[in-house]
Protein backbone atom coordinates (compact mmCIF):
# COMPACT_ATOMS: atom_id res chain seq x y z
CA UNK A 1 0.00 0.00 0.00
CA UNK A 2 1.15 3.45 -0.86
CA UNK A 3 1.08 5.71 2.16
CA UNK A 4 0.13 9.03 0.68
CA UNK A 5 -2.04 7.37 -1.84
CA UNK A 6 -1.74 10.04 -4.53
CA UNK A 7 -5.19 11.23 -3.60
CA UNK A 8 -6.44 14.32 -5.37
CA UNK A 9 -7.34 17.74 -3.96
CA UNK A 10 -8.03 18.11 -0.28
CA UNK A 11 -11.55 19.46 0.28
CA UNK A 12 -11.55 19.25 4.05
CA UNK A 13 -8.97 18.93 6.74
CA UNK A 14 -8.77 18.93 10.49
CA UNK A 15 -5.76 20.45 12.19
CA UNK A 16 -4.83 19.24 15.65
CA UNK A 17 -8.44 18.76 16.71
CA UNK A 18 -8.93 17.97 20.37
CA UNK A 19 -12.22 17.68 22.26
CA UNK A 20 -12.59 17.60 26.02
CA UNK A 21 -16.05 17.07 27.48
CA UNK A 22 -16.89 18.64 30.82
CA UNK A 23 -13.32 19.75 31.36
CA UNK A 24 -12.08 16.25 32.14
CA UNK A 25 -13.27 13.67 29.61
CA UNK A 26 -10.78 13.79 26.75
CA UNK A 27 -12.61 12.34 23.76
CA UNK A 28 -10.25 13.36 20.97
CA UNK A 29 -6.61 14.31 20.95
CA UNK A 30 -4.64 16.00 18.22
CA UNK A 31 -6.48 14.68 15.20
CA UNK A 32 -5.05 15.99 11.93
CA UNK A 33 -6.67 14.57 8.89
CA UNK A 34 -6.84 15.31 5.19
CA UNK A 35 -9.99 14.41 3.32
CA UNK A 36 -9.63 14.18 -0.46
CA UNK A 37 -12.32 15.50 -2.79
CA UNK A 38 -14.84 13.05 -4.20
CA UNK A 39 -13.40 10.12 -2.25
CA UNK A 40 -14.64 7.99 0.58
CA UNK A 41 -12.94 8.29 3.92
CA UNK A 42 -13.78 5.76 6.61
CA UNK A 43 -13.24 6.36 10.30
CA UNK A 44 -12.70 3.14 12.15
CA UNK A 45 -12.13 2.59 15.83
CA UNK A 46 -13.30 0.88 19.00
CA UNK A 47 -16.57 1.93 20.61
CA UNK A 48 -16.36 5.13 22.59
CA UNK A 49 -13.11 6.29 20.98
CA UNK A 50 -14.62 9.52 19.71
CA UNK A 51 -15.76 8.72 16.17
CA UNK A 52 -19.11 10.45 16.56
CA UNK A 53 -17.39 13.33 18.29
CA UNK A 54 -14.99 13.76 15.36
CA UNK A 55 -17.81 13.64 12.84
CA UNK A 56 -19.81 16.24 14.80
CA UNK A 57 -16.78 18.48 15.01
CA UNK A 58 -16.48 18.26 11.23
CA UNK A 59 -20.22 18.89 10.91
CA UNK A 60 -19.78 22.03 13.00
CA UNK A 61 -22.04 20.82 15.80
CA UNK A 62 -19.30 20.50 18.40
CA UNK A 63 -16.76 23.25 18.77
CA UNK A 64 -13.36 21.62 19.23
CA UNK A 65 -11.50 22.51 22.41
CA UNK A 66 -8.32 22.64 20.38
CA UNK A 67 -7.51 22.88 16.69
CA UNK A 68 -9.75 23.67 13.73
CA UNK A 69 -11.59 22.28 10.76
CA UNK A 70 -10.94 23.75 7.33
CA UNK A 71 -13.34 23.27 4.43
CA UNK A 72 -12.42 24.59 1.00
CA UNK A 73 -9.63 26.65 2.49
CA UNK A 74 -11.76 28.35 5.15
CA UNK A 75 -12.05 27.55 8.83
CA UNK A 76 -15.60 26.50 9.71
CA UNK A 77 -17.53 28.22 12.45
CA UNK A 78 -20.57 25.93 12.50
CA UNK A 79 -22.74 23.82 10.25
CA UNK A 80 -22.79 24.86 6.61
CA UNK A 81 -24.55 24.04 3.35
CA UNK A 82 -21.41 22.23 2.19
CA UNK A 83 -21.85 19.42 4.74
CA UNK A 84 -24.78 17.10 5.46
CA UNK A 85 -24.86 14.73 8.41
CA UNK A 86 -26.54 11.34 8.76
CA UNK A 87 -27.04 10.76 12.47
CA UNK A 88 -26.16 7.57 14.31
CA UNK A 89 -29.44 7.76 16.26
CA UNK A 90 -31.37 8.81 13.11
CA UNK A 91 -32.67 12.05 14.71
CA UNK A 92 -36.06 11.81 13.02
CA UNK A 93 -39.00 13.92 14.14
CA UNK A 94 -41.42 11.35 15.62
CA UNK A 95 -44.49 13.43 14.80
CA UNK A 96 -43.56 13.90 11.15
CA UNK A 97 -43.96 11.50 8.24
CA UNK A 98 -41.05 10.10 6.26
CA UNK A 99 -41.72 12.68 3.56
CA UNK A 100 -41.79 15.55 6.05
CA UNK A 101 -38.65 14.28 7.73
CA UNK A 102 -36.78 13.92 4.48
CA UNK A 103 -37.91 17.39 3.41
CA UNK A 104 -36.75 19.01 6.65
CA UNK A 105 -33.51 20.41 5.29
CA UNK A 106 -35.20 21.83 2.21
CA UNK A 107 -37.96 23.35 4.30
CA UNK A 108 -35.36 25.03 6.48
CA UNK A 109 -33.86 26.46 3.31
CA UNK A 110 -37.21 27.89 2.30
CA UNK A 111 -37.74 25.64 -0.73
CA UNK A 112 -41.43 25.80 -1.81
CA UNK A 113 -43.56 22.85 -0.78
CA UNK A 114 -44.11 21.32 -4.21
CA UNK A 115 -40.46 21.45 -5.14
CA UNK A 116 -39.20 20.08 -1.84
CA UNK A 117 -41.67 17.20 -2.00
CA UNK A 118 -40.55 16.31 -5.50
CA UNK A 119 -36.89 16.34 -4.50
CA UNK A 120 -37.63 14.40 -1.33
CA UNK A 121 -39.60 11.74 -3.19
CA UNK A 122 -36.73 11.36 -5.60
CA UNK A 123 -34.34 10.50 -2.75
CA UNK A 124 -36.95 8.44 -0.93
CA UNK A 125 -37.06 6.30 -4.07
CA UNK A 126 -33.27 6.16 -4.20
CA UNK A 127 -32.99 4.75 -0.70
CA UNK A 128 -35.77 2.29 -1.44
CA UNK A 129 -38.50 3.75 0.74
CA UNK A 130 -41.04 4.59 -1.93
CA UNK A 131 -44.48 3.68 -0.61
CA UNK A 132 -43.49 4.55 2.94
CA UNK A 133 -43.44 8.33 2.53
CA UNK A 134 -46.59 8.79 4.62
CA UNK A 135 -45.51 6.53 7.46
CA UNK A 136 -44.30 7.80 10.80
CA UNK A 137 -40.88 6.83 12.19
CA UNK A 138 -42.39 4.51 14.81
CA UNK A 139 -43.95 2.52 11.97
CA UNK A 140 -40.55 1.84 10.39
CA UNK A 141 -37.85 -0.69 11.10
CA UNK A 142 -34.46 0.50 12.30
CA UNK A 143 -32.99 0.16 8.84
CA UNK A 144 -35.81 2.14 7.28
CA UNK A 145 -35.30 4.92 9.79
CA UNK A 146 -31.64 4.99 8.95
CA UNK A 147 -32.43 5.25 5.25
CA UNK A 148 -34.85 8.09 5.99
CA UNK A 149 -31.98 9.94 7.65
CA UNK A 150 -29.80 9.19 4.63
CA UNK A 151 -32.43 10.49 2.21
CA UNK A 152 -32.78 13.66 4.28
CA UNK A 153 -29.04 14.27 4.05
CA UNK A 154 -29.03 13.65 0.31
CA UNK A 155 -31.81 16.14 -0.46
CA UNK A 156 -29.75 19.19 0.35
CA UNK A 157 -27.16 18.16 -2.21
CA UNK A 158 -24.09 19.20 -0.27
CA UNK A 159 -20.61 18.32 -1.47
CA UNK A 160 -19.64 16.52 1.68
CA UNK A 161 -21.71 13.74 3.17
CA UNK A 162 -20.97 12.81 6.78
CA UNK A 163 -22.41 9.48 7.85
CA UNK A 164 -22.32 8.07 11.37
CA UNK A 165 -22.52 4.28 11.12
CA UNK A 166 -25.02 4.56 8.29
CA UNK A 167 -25.51 0.84 7.80
CA UNK A 168 -25.39 -0.38 11.39
CA UNK A 169 -29.11 -0.88 11.92
CA UNK A 170 -29.77 -3.00 8.86
CA UNK A 171 -29.42 -6.69 8.21
CA UNK A 172 -26.56 -8.14 6.19
CA UNK A 173 -28.42 -8.28 2.85
CA UNK A 174 -29.70 -4.74 3.16
CA UNK A 175 -26.28 -3.58 4.26
CA UNK A 176 -24.71 -4.99 1.12
CA UNK A 177 -27.39 -3.49 -1.04
CA UNK A 178 -26.98 -0.07 0.56
CA UNK A 179 -23.21 -0.27 0.25
CA UNK A 180 -23.53 -1.03 -3.43
CA UNK A 181 -26.08 1.72 -3.85
CA UNK A 182 -23.73 4.16 -2.18
CA UNK A 183 -20.92 3.26 -4.56
CA UNK A 184 -23.27 3.60 -7.52
CA UNK A 185 -24.54 6.91 -6.26
CA UNK A 186 -21.02 8.22 -5.89
CA UNK A 187 -20.24 7.27 -9.45
CA UNK A 188 -23.11 9.48 -10.62
CA UNK A 189 -22.92 12.35 -8.17
CA UNK A 190 -19.44 13.33 -7.21
CA UNK A 191 -19.50 13.61 -3.44
CA UNK A 192 -16.97 13.48 -0.69
CA UNK A 193 -18.03 11.01 1.96
CA UNK A 194 -16.73 10.63 5.48
CA UNK A 195 -18.32 7.73 7.24
CA UNK A 196 -17.90 6.11 10.61
CA UNK A 197 -18.04 2.37 10.83
CA UNK A 198 -17.37 -0.50 13.18
CA UNK A 199 -16.78 -2.88 10.34
CA UNK A 200 -13.28 -3.36 8.96
CA UNK A 201 -14.68 -5.11 5.87
CA UNK A 202 -17.02 -2.24 5.19
CA UNK A 203 -14.19 0.27 5.54
CA UNK A 204 -11.92 -1.60 3.14
CA UNK A 205 -14.71 -2.35 0.70
CA UNK A 206 -16.00 1.20 0.47
CA UNK A 207 -13.23 3.58 1.39
CA UNK A 208 -10.32 5.14 -0.44
CA UNK A 209 -8.84 6.15 2.87
CA UNK A 210 -9.30 4.38 6.19
CA UNK A 211 -8.50 6.35 9.32
CA UNK A 212 -7.91 4.16 12.32
CA UNK A 213 -8.49 5.81 15.69
CA UNK A 214 -6.94 4.54 18.89
CA UNK A 215 -9.00 3.88 21.99
CA UNK A 216 -10.05 6.83 24.13
CA UNK A 217 -8.80 9.49 23.91
CA UNK A 218 -9.12 9.01 20.18
CA UNK A 219 -6.11 9.96 18.15
CA UNK A 220 -5.04 8.77 14.74
CA UNK A 221 -3.30 5.41 15.08
CA UNK A 222 -2.90 4.71 11.39
CA UNK A 223 -4.19 5.63 7.97
CA UNK A 224 -4.40 3.11 5.16
CA UNK A 225 -5.35 3.60 1.53
CA UNK A 226 -7.07 0.55 0.13
CA UNK A 227 -6.28 0.70 -3.57
CA UNK A 228 -9.21 -1.25 -4.70
CA UNK A 229 -10.44 -0.92 -8.21
CA UNK A 230 -14.07 0.13 -7.95
CA UNK A 231 -14.56 0.86 -11.61
CA UNK A 232 -15.70 -2.62 -12.52
CA UNK A 233 -18.64 -4.59 -11.23
CA UNK A 234 -19.29 -3.95 -7.54
CA UNK A 235 -19.50 -7.71 -6.99
CA UNK A 236 -15.89 -8.12 -7.98
CA UNK A 237 -14.48 -5.74 -5.41
CA UNK A 238 -14.55 -8.22 -2.56
CA UNK A 239 -12.73 -10.80 -4.69
CA UNK A 240 -9.81 -8.60 -5.57
CA UNK A 241 -6.35 -9.64 -4.46
CA UNK A 242 -5.23 -7.69 -1.42
CA UNK A 243 -8.73 -7.26 0.00
CA UNK A 244 -8.38 -9.94 2.65
CA UNK A 245 -4.77 -8.99 3.42
CA UNK A 246 -5.79 -5.42 4.04
CA UNK A 247 -8.61 -6.45 6.36
CA UNK A 248 -6.06 -8.50 8.33
CA UNK A 249 -3.59 -5.66 8.41
CA UNK A 250 -6.16 -3.26 9.82
CA UNK A 251 -7.34 -5.81 12.34
CA UNK A 252 -3.84 -6.32 13.68
CA UNK A 253 -3.43 -2.57 14.04
CA UNK A 254 -6.81 -2.22 15.81
CA UNK A 255 -6.51 -5.28 18.01
CA UNK A 256 -4.42 -3.66 20.70
CA UNK A 257 -7.16 -1.09 21.45
CA UNK A 258 -9.81 -3.69 21.99
CA UNK A 259 -9.76 -5.33 25.35
Amino acid sequence: MKKVGGLSDIILKTEGVGVTYQESIVALKNVSLNVPTAKLTAILGPSGCGKTTLLKVIAGLIEPTKGKVIVGGKEIIGPGPDRALVFQDFALLPWATVLQNVAFGLRARGVPKKEREETSLHYIRQVGLLGFEDKYPHQLSGGMRQRTGLARALTINSDILLMDEPFSAVDEQMRRKLQEDLLKLLKIESKTVIFVTHSIEEAVYLADQVVILSGRPGSIADIVYPEIDRLGEVDLIRRQPGYIELVDEIWSSLKRYVE
Binding site: L61, G80, L93, W95, A96, H138, Q139
Partner: protein, 271 residues
Protein backbone atom coordinates in the same frame (compact mmCIF):
# COMPACT_ATOMS: atom_id res chain seq x y z
CA UNK B 1 -41.84 0.84 23.20
CA UNK B 2 -45.29 0.45 21.75
CA UNK B 3 -43.87 0.16 18.24
CA UNK B 4 -44.75 -3.45 17.69
CA UNK B 5 -48.34 -2.92 18.74
CA UNK B 6 -48.70 -0.05 16.37
CA UNK B 7 -47.12 -1.95 13.52
CA UNK B 8 -49.51 -4.77 14.10
CA UNK B 9 -52.50 -2.47 13.95
CA UNK B 10 -51.70 -0.90 10.60
CA UNK B 11 -52.72 -3.45 8.02
CA UNK B 12 -55.34 -2.01 5.64
CA UNK B 13 -57.15 1.29 5.80
CA UNK B 14 -60.60 -0.19 5.90
CA UNK B 15 -59.65 -2.44 8.78
CA UNK B 16 -58.24 0.47 10.72
CA UNK B 17 -61.46 2.42 10.37
CA UNK B 18 -63.79 -0.35 11.34
CA UNK B 19 -61.66 -1.40 14.30
CA UNK B 20 -61.30 2.23 15.38
CA UNK B 21 -65.05 2.74 15.34
CA UNK B 22 -65.34 -0.51 17.26
CA UNK B 23 -62.95 0.60 19.97
CA UNK B 24 -64.66 3.98 20.18
CA UNK B 25 -68.05 2.40 20.74
CA UNK B 26 -66.74 -0.04 23.33
CA UNK B 27 -64.84 2.76 25.06
CA UNK B 28 -68.06 4.75 25.22
CA UNK B 29 -69.94 1.76 26.66
CA UNK B 30 -67.27 1.24 29.28
CA UNK B 31 -67.50 4.88 30.33
CA UNK B 32 -71.26 4.65 30.50
CA UNK B 33 -70.92 1.54 32.61
CA UNK B 34 -68.47 3.15 35.02
CA UNK B 35 -70.81 6.14 35.46
CA UNK B 36 -73.67 3.76 36.07
CA UNK B 37 -71.61 1.88 38.65
CA UNK B 38 -70.54 5.06 40.45
CA UNK B 39 -74.10 6.39 40.55
CA UNK B 40 -75.42 3.05 41.83
CA UNK B 41 -72.92 3.01 44.66
CA UNK B 42 -73.80 6.59 45.44
CA UNK B 43 -77.51 5.71 45.44
CA UNK B 44 -76.96 2.77 47.81
CA UNK B 45 -74.69 4.77 50.11
CA UNK B 46 -77.20 7.62 50.16
CA UNK B 47 -80.04 5.29 51.10
CA UNK B 48 -78.00 3.63 53.85
CA UNK B 49 -78.80 6.54 56.15
CA UNK B 50 -75.21 7.35 56.91
CA UNK B 51 -76.05 10.99 57.30
CA UNK B 52 -78.82 13.25 56.15
CA UNK B 53 -76.11 15.44 54.69
CA UNK B 54 -75.51 12.74 52.08
CA UNK B 55 -78.58 12.30 49.90
CA UNK B 56 -78.90 9.45 47.39
CA UNK B 57 -78.16 10.05 43.72
CA UNK B 58 -81.79 10.05 42.66
CA UNK B 59 -82.69 12.99 44.92
CA UNK B 60 -79.70 14.95 43.71
CA UNK B 61 -80.68 14.26 40.11
CA UNK B 62 -84.20 15.54 40.75
CA UNK B 63 -82.81 18.63 42.48
CA UNK B 64 -80.45 19.17 39.56
CA UNK B 65 -83.27 19.24 37.02
CA UNK B 66 -85.46 21.44 39.21
CA UNK B 67 -82.65 23.93 39.67
CA UNK B 68 -82.20 24.18 35.92
CA UNK B 69 -85.89 25.02 35.48
CA UNK B 70 -86.16 27.33 38.48
CA UNK B 71 -83.32 29.42 37.13
CA UNK B 72 -81.17 29.04 40.25
CA UNK B 73 -78.29 27.78 38.12
CA UNK B 74 -78.77 30.56 35.61
CA UNK B 75 -78.51 33.21 38.28
CA UNK B 76 -75.51 31.60 39.97
CA UNK B 77 -73.58 30.95 36.77
CA UNK B 78 -74.27 34.47 35.55
CA UNK B 79 -72.15 35.52 38.52
CA UNK B 80 -69.52 32.80 38.26
CA UNK B 81 -68.93 32.29 34.55
CA UNK B 82 -67.61 35.72 33.56
CA UNK B 83 -64.73 35.72 36.09
CA UNK B 84 -64.18 32.02 35.40
CA UNK B 85 -63.81 32.62 31.68
CA UNK B 86 -61.57 35.63 32.20
CA UNK B 87 -59.43 33.67 34.65
CA UNK B 88 -59.23 30.67 32.32
CA UNK B 89 -58.12 32.82 29.41
CA UNK B 90 -55.40 34.47 31.48
CA UNK B 91 -54.35 31.11 32.92
CA UNK B 92 -54.12 29.41 29.53
CA UNK B 93 -52.65 32.18 27.41
CA UNK B 94 -50.43 33.64 30.12
CA UNK B 95 -49.30 30.25 31.41
CA UNK B 96 -48.36 28.87 28.01
CA UNK B 97 -46.68 32.12 27.05
CA UNK B 98 -44.67 32.38 30.26
CA UNK B 99 -43.70 28.69 30.24
CA UNK B 100 -42.57 28.72 26.63
CA UNK B 101 -40.71 31.99 27.03
CA UNK B 102 -38.75 30.76 30.03
CA UNK B 103 -38.11 27.45 28.31
CA UNK B 104 -36.68 29.20 25.27
CA UNK B 105 -34.76 31.96 27.02
CA UNK B 106 -32.33 30.36 29.40
CA UNK B 107 -31.44 33.70 30.96
CA UNK B 108 -34.91 34.21 32.43
CA UNK B 109 -34.88 30.79 34.04
CA UNK B 110 -33.13 31.66 37.29
CA UNK B 111 -35.44 34.52 37.92
CA UNK B 112 -38.84 32.94 37.31
CA UNK B 113 -38.33 29.25 38.10
CA UNK B 114 -38.10 29.57 41.90
CA UNK B 115 -41.34 31.57 41.91
CA UNK B 116 -43.13 28.94 39.86
CA UNK B 117 -41.88 26.10 42.01
CA UNK B 118 -43.01 27.87 45.14
CA UNK B 119 -46.41 28.42 43.59
CA UNK B 120 -46.58 24.79 42.61
CA UNK B 121 -45.57 23.28 45.95
CA UNK B 122 -46.92 25.75 48.52
CA UNK B 123 -50.52 25.32 49.66
CA UNK B 124 -51.59 28.23 47.50
CA UNK B 125 -55.22 27.92 48.47
CA UNK B 126 -54.15 29.23 51.88
CA UNK B 127 -53.38 32.51 50.18
CA UNK B 128 -56.88 32.94 48.86
CA UNK B 129 -58.48 34.45 51.98
CA UNK B 130 -55.72 37.04 51.91
CA UNK B 131 -56.87 38.22 48.50
CA UNK B 132 -59.82 39.87 50.23
CA UNK B 133 -57.47 42.40 51.78
CA UNK B 134 -56.04 43.31 48.42
CA UNK B 135 -58.96 43.11 46.04
CA UNK B 136 -61.92 43.20 48.39
CA UNK B 137 -65.07 41.36 47.50
CA UNK B 138 -64.92 41.58 43.74
CA UNK B 139 -64.64 39.70 40.50
CA UNK B 140 -60.99 40.67 40.43
CA UNK B 141 -60.39 38.60 43.55
CA UNK B 142 -61.99 35.61 41.82
CA UNK B 143 -59.90 36.04 38.70
CA UNK B 144 -56.74 36.34 40.76
CA UNK B 145 -57.63 33.19 42.71
CA UNK B 146 -58.13 31.28 39.46
CA UNK B 147 -54.89 32.52 37.97
CA UNK B 148 -52.89 31.76 41.13
CA UNK B 149 -54.16 28.20 41.22
CA UNK B 150 -54.05 27.49 37.50
CA UNK B 151 -51.29 29.41 35.83
CA UNK B 152 -48.20 28.00 37.62
CA UNK B 153 -49.22 24.49 36.56
CA UNK B 154 -49.61 25.54 32.93
CA UNK B 155 -46.39 27.52 32.90
CA UNK B 156 -44.33 24.88 34.67
CA UNK B 157 -45.46 22.07 32.38
CA UNK B 158 -44.95 24.16 29.25
CA UNK B 159 -41.49 25.00 30.49
CA UNK B 160 -40.68 21.36 31.21
CA UNK B 161 -42.00 20.34 27.79
CA UNK B 162 -39.73 22.84 26.06
CA UNK B 163 -36.75 21.74 28.13
CA UNK B 164 -37.38 18.07 27.40
CA UNK B 165 -36.82 18.50 23.67
CA UNK B 166 -34.54 15.72 22.49
CA UNK B 167 -31.08 17.34 22.17
CA UNK B 168 -30.33 15.14 19.19
CA UNK B 169 -33.26 16.69 17.30
CA UNK B 170 -31.97 20.14 18.14
CA UNK B 171 -28.57 19.18 16.75
CA UNK B 172 -30.26 17.83 13.65
CA UNK B 173 -32.15 21.08 13.17
CA UNK B 174 -28.97 23.06 13.61
CA UNK B 175 -27.02 20.92 11.21
CA UNK B 176 -29.67 21.41 8.53
CA UNK B 177 -29.33 25.16 9.06
CA UNK B 178 -32.86 25.70 10.34
CA UNK B 179 -33.41 29.20 11.69
CA UNK B 180 -34.28 29.66 15.34
CA UNK B 181 -37.91 30.34 14.40
CA UNK B 182 -38.09 27.17 12.27
CA UNK B 183 -36.50 25.14 15.04
CA UNK B 184 -39.08 26.44 17.50
CA UNK B 185 -42.00 25.84 15.13
CA UNK B 186 -41.01 22.50 13.68
CA UNK B 187 -38.98 20.87 16.45
CA UNK B 188 -39.41 22.39 19.90
CA UNK B 189 -43.14 23.17 19.99
CA UNK B 190 -44.33 19.86 18.49
CA UNK B 191 -42.09 18.03 20.90
CA UNK B 192 -43.44 20.00 23.88
CA UNK B 193 -47.05 19.69 22.75
CA UNK B 194 -47.98 16.72 24.95
CA UNK B 195 -46.54 18.31 28.09
CA UNK B 196 -48.13 21.67 27.31
CA UNK B 197 -51.55 20.10 26.99
CA UNK B 198 -51.04 18.01 30.12
CA UNK B 199 -50.25 21.26 31.91
CA UNK B 200 -53.34 22.90 30.44
CA UNK B 201 -55.52 20.12 31.77
CA UNK B 202 -54.01 20.48 35.25
CA UNK B 203 -54.26 24.25 35.02
CA UNK B 204 -57.92 24.18 34.00
CA UNK B 205 -58.71 21.88 36.93
CA UNK B 206 -56.82 24.30 39.17
CA UNK B 207 -58.83 27.19 37.75
CA UNK B 208 -62.10 25.50 38.65
CA UNK B 209 -60.85 24.87 42.17
CA UNK B 210 -59.87 28.52 42.25
CA UNK B 211 -63.31 29.88 41.39
CA UNK B 212 -65.09 27.63 43.87
CA UNK B 213 -62.65 28.43 46.67
CA UNK B 214 -62.88 32.14 45.93
CA UNK B 215 -66.65 32.04 46.09
CA UNK B 216 -66.64 29.92 49.23
CA UNK B 217 -63.98 31.89 51.08
CA UNK B 218 -63.96 35.46 49.79
CA UNK B 219 -66.88 36.52 47.71
CA UNK B 220 -70.10 34.76 48.62
CA UNK B 221 -71.70 34.97 45.20
CA UNK B 222 -72.44 32.70 42.28
CA UNK B 223 -71.90 29.00 42.46
CA UNK B 224 -69.96 29.05 45.74
CA UNK B 225 -72.76 30.98 47.37
CA UNK B 226 -75.31 28.49 46.05
CA UNK B 227 -73.34 25.70 47.75
CA UNK B 228 -72.98 27.61 51.03
CA UNK B 229 -76.59 28.73 51.08
CA UNK B 230 -78.05 25.29 50.46
CA UNK B 231 -75.83 23.78 53.10
CA UNK B 232 -76.97 26.49 55.51
CA UNK B 233 -80.65 25.73 54.89
CA UNK B 234 -79.89 21.98 54.89
CA UNK B 235 -80.98 21.42 51.28
CA UNK B 236 -78.21 18.89 50.75
CA UNK B 237 -79.75 17.57 47.54
CA UNK B 238 -79.41 21.04 46.02
CA UNK B 239 -75.96 21.48 47.47
CA UNK B 240 -74.77 18.29 45.80
CA UNK B 241 -76.58 19.15 42.58
CA UNK B 242 -74.62 22.39 42.48
CA UNK B 243 -71.34 20.58 43.08
CA UNK B 244 -72.22 18.08 40.36
CA UNK B 245 -72.98 20.94 37.97
CA UNK B 246 -69.56 22.53 38.40
CA UNK B 247 -67.84 19.14 38.07
CA UNK B 248 -69.79 18.52 34.89
CA UNK B 249 -68.74 21.86 33.44
CA UNK B 250 -65.13 21.19 34.37
CA UNK B 251 -65.32 17.76 32.74
CA UNK B 252 -66.88 19.26 29.63
CA UNK B 253 -64.16 21.90 29.39
CA UNK B 254 -61.46 19.22 29.67
CA UNK B 255 -63.13 17.12 26.95
CA UNK B 256 -63.38 20.14 24.66
CA UNK B 257 -59.69 20.74 25.21
CA UNK B 258 -58.70 17.26 24.17
CA UNK B 259 -60.91 17.57 21.07
CA UNK B 260 -59.13 20.83 20.35
CA UNK B 261 -55.75 19.12 20.79
CA UNK B 262 -56.70 16.36 18.35
CA UNK B 263 -57.87 18.95 15.87
CA UNK B 264 -54.71 21.00 16.24
CA UNK B 265 -52.33 18.02 15.98
CA UNK B 266 -54.16 15.40 13.93
CA UNK B 267 -51.01 13.36 13.33
CA UNK B 268 -50.96 12.34 16.98
CA UNK B 269 -53.96 10.14 16.29
CA UNK B 270 -51.73 7.80 14.35
CA UNK B 271 -49.74 6.97 17.44
Amino acid sequence: MSDSQNLASIPENSEINSSKVGTKVSLFLWRLFSFFLAFSIWELAGRADISIAFPPFSEVAVAFVSMIYSGEFTVAYADSLPPLLTGLCITIIGGVFIGISIGLARSAEWFVMPLLIIFQTAPVSALIPMLTYIYGISDTAKVVAIVILGMPLVALNSYKGIQATNPSLLEMSKSFLASRVDTILFVILPSAQKMIFAGLRLGVSGAFIGIVLAELLITPTGIGDLITYNRFIARYDKMFATIVSILAIAGLTLSLMSIFEDWLFPSEKHK
